[in-house]
Amino acid sequence: MSIFALSRVKSPWILHYDTGGCNGCDIEILAVLTPRYDVERFGMINRGNPKQADVFLVTGPVTKRCRERLINLYLQVPEPKVVVAVGSCACDGGVFRNMYNVENGVDKVIPVDVYVPGCAARPHQIIDGVVKALEILSKKTKENIELPEYIKERFPSLNDRRKVLEEMRKR
């Protein structure tokens, strides 16, 4: 493996967004950074800045108000990127499934690569999930841009989509 391909896997900087879950998984994500689990072994740091992130950890069942913010954050993360849905409610809605203000999971809004089940997801499960996400990340390059369904709906023709991409680049 060349140094470039290796470095893509070895330095995942994470961005974390809670889309209205119960906080349990968020705290476990924080716990993953602390001495017992210490994911900085893999080069992971919590940058908290979408523009410098590679791995996007999303928790929560996506409430209607968080939806726009989630899409906005997703578009701001530069490729190559992976999205990890952490926790049952981020995967399929969990116990909040079919409540009136939720979207039943992250993959209804943005493309998701890895699902970490568990309520709340254990730190071990999160580490497993991130390791799996890194395998997927090693195959991605900056050319393959995935757009959320929402953007595809709003800009159905290819030309419009190109406009969105240009907008994204300008941003």
Binding site: P35, R36, Y37, D38, R41, S88, C91, D92, G93, G94, V95, R97, N104, V112, D113, V114, Y115, V116, P117, G118, C119, R122, P123, H124, Q125, I127, D128, G129, V131, K132, I136
Partner: protein
């Protein structure tokens, strides 16, 4: 300030508290609430687990030829163990192993399964009604 200074300098010579997880195996506690395991032989498809499950992560499909399937969604389960406690025949048990992460290839589309199970259940009820009507008329 001084205490933390000393602690941090001394920590250089102490063993780190880190558990090197993916390289060192981890064994969860004995009664950790992990995956749900279904024993087909003991199950009578009484649908009690489907009824008590808070998120609706268990679905029982009654196919058109009256064979039954028990489906469980690890990505929606909240691992509360309510189905295990309520199973009258002991067909469900809870392992102490947690679920592995899923990706696009092995994650079920649960909303489709829900819809399908609902449709099959309606058909099943229709069949039951017809059967009982046939019994009555005979």
């Amino acid at each position: 300030m001084l205490k933390m200074f000393l602690t941090s300098v001394l920590n250089l010579f102490r063993k780190p508290a880190t558990h090197l997880y993916p390289f060192e195996p981890y064994e969860p506690f004995e009664d950790y609430r992990g995956r749900i395991v279904w024993n087909e032989e003991k199950c009578t498809f009484c649908m009690r687990c489907e009824m008590v499950c808070p998120p609706g992560a268990i679905k029982i499909m009654i196919m058109e030829d009256d064979t039954k399937r028990w489906l469980w969604n690890p990505a929606q389960c909240i691992y509360c163990g309510e189905c295990v406690r309520n199973c009258p025949f002991g067909a469900l048990t809870q392992e102490n192993q947690y679920s592995p992460p899923l990706d696009k290839s092995n994650k079920r589309d649960w909303s489709e399964i829900e819809r399908e199970a609902e449709r099959l259940k309606l058909l099943w009820r229709e069949r039951l009604r017809k059967k009982s009507q046939a019994k009555k008329s005979s």
